[in-house]
Symmetry: C2
């Protein structure tokens, strides 16, 4: 039996339609659409291509897109200054800092300079820490508002839209990256999955992957996950993207694994489009919070909870 295809293109289209309507209402109420600012240093081809995708998605839903690109020899200080300017610019609602930055620049220094309230890709440690400390979904969340990185959030959203159970399931994540593997593990733990994170030192990898009800791979190694490594009936989320024999493929040997799995994301057209949709969702969330509280207060709430009453309200509205 062939697996159900988790169609990220179709689901993201639905979500982007929802967001386009929200952008319209937002514009009616506040006079201008939300703005997403993209920051890039250098011209890493994958970053340029991804940046173009974000721009097209913004155009599709009506979010204003601004790019701030610098050459690869930009200094760390200049990057920090740029980020600070965007923090202070009330017309900018969300900022995404594209990785990788040039080697001469420490990415955490630039990321931590960003206002956590504008950090729509959940890269700032304060957002990562609030996700880490958030309680299970049916318990009081008990942390301030936070952003989850768009890619793992998109994976979770796919599971939700296809009514795939997470609670009580065994999830195995191959790859412990900061923007996908680790936040995905915290998200799934928060939703009551039993989560295992594997890395390069996990041997044999198949001993872990074979046990997964939900298997997520985040390595960029083409066809790392073969049919023999997958449990019959598993749900497979493929976050990989690599070239093989002139074609774009994922971490998963799709053609063979789809005969074993019960549900699977294709590459391309699976988790990728979901990332774009979730980035737009996070931008809307940031813009709405800033509009409601004012940019300064939204930033304060996102930094330290100065107003306990307001924090309670915010926390109860957080969505992930």
């Amino acid at each position: 039996m062939s697996a159900r295809i988790l169609d990220g293109r179709q689901v993201s289209k639905m979500i982007l339609n929802e967001i386009a309507q929200e952008v319209e209402s937002y514009q009616d109420e506040y006079g201008a659409p939300p703005t997403l600012a993209l920051v890039r240093a250098g011209d890493d081809p994958a970053s340029v291509s991804y940046g173009g995708m974000i721009e097209r998605t913004c155009n599709k839903v009506g979010i204003t897109f601004v790019a701030h690109t610098r050459s690869a020899d930009v200094t760390e200080e200049e990057m920090v200054r740029l980020i600070r300017n965007l923090n202070g610019d009330d017309t900018v609602n969300g900022v995404i800092i594209q990785q990788p930055l040039p080697e001469s620049i420490r990415s955490e220094v630039v990321i931590e300079a960003l206002d956590p309230g504008k950090d729509i890709d959940g890269a700032h440690p304060l957002n990562a820490g609030r996700l880490a400390r958030a309680a299970f979904v049916d318990q009081p969340q008990n942390v301030g508002p936070y952003f989850v990185p768009a890619t793992p959030l998109g994976g979770l959203e796919l599971l939700k839209r296809y009514n795939i159970t997470v609670d009580g399931q065994r999830a195995v994540i191959v790859g412990a990256s900061n923007l996908i593997g680790k936040p995905l593990s915290l998200l799934l733990t928060r939703h009551w999955a039993t989560v295992t994170v594997c890395d390069l030192h996990t041997k044999p990898l198949s001993a872990m992957t074979e046990e997964a009800d939900i298997l997520a791979s985040v390595t960029g190694v083409a066809h790392l996950i073969t049919a023999g490594m997958v449990k019959e009936g598993a749900t497979v989320l493929d976050f990989g993207f690599a070239e093989m024999d002139g074609e774009w493929v994922g971490d998963v040997d799709f053609e063979n694994v789809k005969e074993i799995a019960s549900a699977i994301t294709p590459v391309p057209g699976g988790t990728g489009p979901m990332t774009n949709a979730m980035l737009m969702r996070n931008t809307m969330t940031a813009a709405e919070r800033q509009a409601r509280l004012g940019v300064r207060e939204a930033s304060r709430v996102s930094r330290v909870p100065v107003s306990p009453a307001r924090l309670g309200k915010e926390a109860s509205q957080a969505s992930s």
Copy 2:
């Protein structure tokens, strides 16, 4: 064959001796020993008892201990004001906020009010997020300085002092608490273990625990972990503490599991004393950083990395 006993009392004694010498040097250099401030609201018996333990440990190593206790009807605003005062008090190097706080107070509001640079129990989301984003031990850490909660840090230290391999091992953690289970999973992932986190919805729990080379239990359910649930030769870390038949016992049925495991922590006398030792270690780290950089600058470095050059220096000195 009976397991090796991981003697937290003995190891912590060695560490406290090391710290006592560091305190002496610190006092020689700066004129006064470091100060730890303990904050408590209400009189939860376990908190009172733990607080007494911290005080005795401070006295033992020469760290000045100050307690700020409030009645259970203290308001959230008063607690936040107290924390802010401690942030601004240059004589206070580290602060521990005892949990649980009274139900009328949201603990995250109080925790997030604390200067992350004085957060010696690693409770602030910024510290949790930096731990979450820190790279593997043999890679550039690439995050600013952070504090790890004392209890999981003590568990890791026990493994290190007994030369128990973490790299490549399967670690299973029972219990996803914010101060033990979750940070322990991130710490062990950082040290290249393959880590699974279990919670109340993991069924059957034994299917997971049986696979663990390193099994950690963090539930407070007396004797939850029985001999049949443990793999032959496993290392068992018991973070539980509960009363059973008038005696203090852990999560693990010690008498029977020690016949299966190759190494095991007793309760009491295992992970508990290590927590105290690590709290002293974190206090020293905070005090030394503040003395070196000045309290204001140490706080800034702990909040956002204003000075890239300094951050690099700090990051390379972070110990976990």
